[in-house]
């Protein structure tokens, strides 16, 4: 059964189309990440599901129940959808445990329930009476997660919940969140502008651009076979080359390489290589690429190369592991591993 399904959802604010004809299904217990640049409509989509906005067209179902269409909808407070916002949105006047109990306060076991939730989100029970301002950013997000889980929601919405944290803590909380949600078994929709976060979090990755759904599918598949060069570049560093396709092989400035994807013979195709597929090898004699600049990034380096007797249009820039890189100015060869992907 699908936990959430969106059918042809559109929403405009005045003349601006925020989202347009979105179709999406989220399986029970699965994790979906919506990723897109700011202004792509991802937050609007989340607010439509939560019930803070109403769609202009289309239908939204949760657990097979229609909760909104163009004319009517279930009010937000009756959707039983959990939501964790960017900075936690903890109630500043309530203690940690009262924040967690907020949605279930009327029941008499709410305290025991809240304490069990604190265990689930890996918060020590001794912190129950702390005030939100006494908690770190990561702890606040754990409280927000526990608060949203308390009502056993049918669907969990995460609105950039990790973006306010610093890098190390972000990864730690992300994997903790995945663990917690798996234990709670609730289908989750994460909205983020960070493609790395989306790829590592999701079973299903959805790319939005200008209010349209560009592509949806398993993250690895999208990374390997994106719908277009813009999506390719959005999901990670991309080397997009003009190529001639003949018999399942592409001829490009890097030489010949096997292709996936369309594999239709064409004299003006575009292919995608990821930087990890390229390897800089020292050339004894007759190397065809010259290293123009090397920009250090620590474990990796931005390497800019160009064909020795080609012009500026043969320039390539990519990240390479910072091991045994020949110095700038050297003549080198470039080796390709794996297959290139031909854009449709």
């Amino acid at each position: 059964m699908t936990a959430l399904s969106l059918e042809d959802i559109s929403k405009s604010y005045g003349p601006t189309r925020a989202v347009s004809k979105i179709n999406l299904q989220i399986a029970e217990g699965s994790r979906t990440a919506i990723v897109g640049p700011s202004g792509s409509g991802k937050t609007t989509l989340l607010r439509l599901v939560a019930g803070f906005e109403a769609p202009d067209a289309g239908k939204i179902h949760i657990d097979g129940l229609r909760i909104a269409d163009a004319s009517v909808g279930v009010p937000a407070h009756r959707r039983n959808v959990g939501i964790v916002m960017q900075e936690g949105a903890l109630f500043p006047h309530l203690s940690l445990i009262d924040n967690i109990r907020f949605g279930i306060r009327k029941s008499k076991d709410s305290k025991a329930h809240a304490l069990a939730l604190m265990d689930l989100v890996e918060l020590d029970r001794s912190m129950a009476d702390r005030q939100p301002h006494q908690l770190s950013g990561g702890q606040q997000q754990r409280v927000a997660l526990a608060r949203a889980l308390a009502r056993q929601p049918r669907l969990m919405l995460l609105d950039e919940p990790f973006s306010a944290l610093d890098a190390g803590l972000r990864e730690q909380l992300r994997s903790a969140t995945m663990r917690i949600l798996a234990k709670a078994g609730v289908a989750t929709l994460l909205v983020t502008h960070d493609q790395e976060e989306a790829i590592s979090f999701a079973d299903q990755l959805v790319v939005l651009r200008d209010g349209r759904l560009v592509q949806a599918g398993p993250p690895q598949e999208l990374y390997r076979a994106p719908a277009d060069p813009v999506t390719a570049a959005f999901l990670g560093q991309a080397i997009v080359l003009d190529a001639e396709i003949r018999g399942g092989r592409a001829r490009c400035i890097l030489g010949e390489v096997a292709v996936d994807g369309q594999q239709t013979s064409s004299s003006a195709a575009k292919i995608l290589l990821r930087p990890e597929q390229l390897r800089v090898v020292p050339a004894a004699e007759g190397g065809t690429w010259r290293i123009l600049t090397i920009e250090q990034l620590g474990p990796q380096a931005h390497v800019k190369v160009a064909l020795e007797n080609g012009g500026a249009e043969t320039c390539l820039t990519f990240r390479a592991p910072n091991v045994d890189l020949p110095p700038a100015g050297s003549l080198v060869g470039l080796e390709i591993s794996g297959r290139a992907y031909q854009f449709p």
Binding site: G51, V72, I83, H113, R151
Partner: protein, 527 residues
């Protein structure tokens, strides 16, 4: 860690659907805001009604006569002298307390706000009791300056503290002398503060009554109230009210024009680096005279006078019963008024904080303009309306409270609006997502968290009511004795001794007002 979750105690009910409400505030909220705005327009309606009722001849004979001309000239002359004097004094005062190494700056800063604790008519009473022969224009100007200069001193200080000292440093590196820097860099950035404070003072002078009666200087407002007390609801008072209305409009237009279109870059709430202080050197005793003389006259004189009369009166003049009854009545009006005004301010404050738009800014501008109207016009309008359309309300507590609402709504709106705006909308949405209906979420989250701002707004209104004289005199039911009206009745009988306890009570009750305003101006976040 591996403890299983206990089952959820309460089952979540199955959803019921509702029609979508498209964006914007709830219709009930908008309707409430519109009703309040409609009430605020009563004085404007009154002016239009007076104009439509009176024939041209009667109007002309009542308005275009030497007496009215004299009053208008006297009123404008007072404005032209007192407002610039307030501005110059406040600039000097603020520069000395904020930008120089004058000794005891913290004390002068506090004393610069303190005159607001002394109602203007108590200022005049102290003056009249000390220099009974000094009357007319110049004493009127002097006492006006002493009573009202903090209204422009406060915004100037606030703005001075926000200015980025980097601009002044840059000007200095470009070769300007410190005095030049003040006039070319600092002063232009104070323009909005000076205009805003100057307008506020001008509006207060226009509506002031008690002060000018005591120093025997007839302004338009004095004439209106006297005329009103002689003939209730007569055409002469009403038409002079229309003239006063026109003067108010003139001031508002003048203010709009003087603000200009130039924008000044707004900087954050605070600047990390304090501005450099100008060294006064050996001339400091001379500069010390500015705050010393000002506060001696504006705070020292009234306090000494009141305490002296109080002392002379001894226990016989204590009027224990009258004082108790007046304090209770004042508290009654202040609390009821504060509660009603706060309630009336909530819908529009909520719209401003949560759903700003064209309708909201239109309603806000109605309150901004009608809030500037003098108490005498408000009172004339309410009397005219209750007598004609709602006689049971004539001379009732309800009419007085309505007048307070018209006078004090803007300050409540501003206080509540800014605090509501600080409560993140996400908190209320989080509460809704956790199953609270929107109205419940608004009450238990947003209003709960904005409570300090709402309380501050209510306190400002309550303290305004405590020292309100003009409208209270004109509207209150017979037998009403508030601190202000009791004080007034006794001064009218030259009973300085008898008036002293009431003056003292009003001063004491106004101290919290000064504390609140001082904290706001100095940039202390009021929690």
């Amino acid at each position: 860690m591996n403890r299983p979750l206990p089952p959820l105690p309460t089952a979540i009910a199955l959803p019921g659907v509702k029609r979508h409400r498209r964006r914007g505030s709830s219709p009930a909220l908008v309707a409430a805001a519109l009703v309040v705005a409609g009430l605020a327009l009563i004085p404007v309606g009154f002016v239009l009604w007076v104009l439509s009722q009176s024939s041209w001849e009667t109007a002309a004979s009542l308005v275009f006569r030497p007496r009215v001309g004299e009053l208008v000239v006297a009123t404008l002359l007072l404005q032209a002298l007192a407002v610039p004097a307030c501005i110059v004094l406040s600039l000097a005062f603020a520069w000395l307390t904020e930008r120089t190494d004058l000794p005891l700056r913290w004390l002068w800063r506090a004393l610069g706000v303190a005159p607001l604790a002394v109602p203007a008519f108590v200022q005049a009473y102290a003056w009249d009791g000390t220099f009974p022969l000094l009357r007319g224009l110049w004493p009127a100007v002097l006492v006006s300056v002493l009573a009202y200069f903090p209204l422009v001193y406060l915004p100037i200080v606030t703005q001075l503290r926000r200015l980025d000292p980097a601009l002044e440093d840059v000007a200095a590196t470009l070769g300007e002398r410190p005095a030049q820097v003040f006039f070319t860099v600092v002063l232009p950035q104070l323009r909005l503060a000076i205009c805003g404070g100057g307008l506020l003072i001008a509006l207060h002078l226009l509506s002031e009554y008690g002060l000018y009666v005591l120093v025997r200087y007839d302004t338009l407002t004095v004439a209106i109230v006297n005329q009103f007390q002689a003939v209730y609801d007569g055409p002469a008072a009403n038409l002079m009210g229309v003239v006063l209305f026109a003067l108010t409009l003139l001031l508002l237009l003048l203010d709009k024009w003087s603000r200009g279109n130039r924008r000044y870059a707004r900087v954050g709430a605070g600047v990390a680096r304090p501005a450099p202080r100008f060294r006064l050197g050996r001339t400091w005793p001379f500069w010390l005279l500015v705050p010393l003389v000002t506060t001696a006259l504006a705070v020292g004189l009234p306090l000494v006078t009141v305490v002296r009369w109080f002392w002379i009166g001894g226990s016989e003049a204590w009027h224990g019963a009258a004082l108790t009854s007046a304090t209770l009545q004042t508290a009654f009006y202040a609390l009821l008024g504060a509660a009603s005004v706060t309630l009336a301010a909530l819908p529009i404050a909520w719209m401003s904080a949560r759903a700003p738009g064209r309708l909201q800014s239109f309603i806000e501008s109605i309150h901004y303009y009608t809030g500037a109207l003098p108490g005498s016009i408000v009172a004339l309008a309410l009397v005219a309306i209750t007598v004609r359309f709602a006689l049971p309300l004539y001379q009732t507590v309800a009419a007085v409270i309505a007048a307070y609402a018209l006078l004090f709504l803007p300050r409540a709106i501003i206080a509540i609006r800014s605090r509501l705006g600080q409560v993140p909308v996400e908190l209320q949405q989080a509460a809704i997502a956790l199953g609270k209906p929107p109205l419940t979420a608004a009450f238990i989250i947003t209003l709960r968290l904005a409570a300090p701002g709402i309380a501050a707004g209510a306190a400002l209104v309550a303290m305004g009511i405590t020292t309100e004289l003009t409208a209270t005199l004109m509207l209150s039911p017979i037998g009403t004795d508030t601190l202000a009206t009791e004080f007034w009745a006794r001064t009218a009988e030259f009973d300085h001794v008898g008036a002293a306890p009431f003056a003292l009570a009003m001063i004491i009750l106004s101290v919290p007002l000064c504390v609140i305003l001082h904290r706001q101006a100095m940039g202390v976040s009021g929690q």
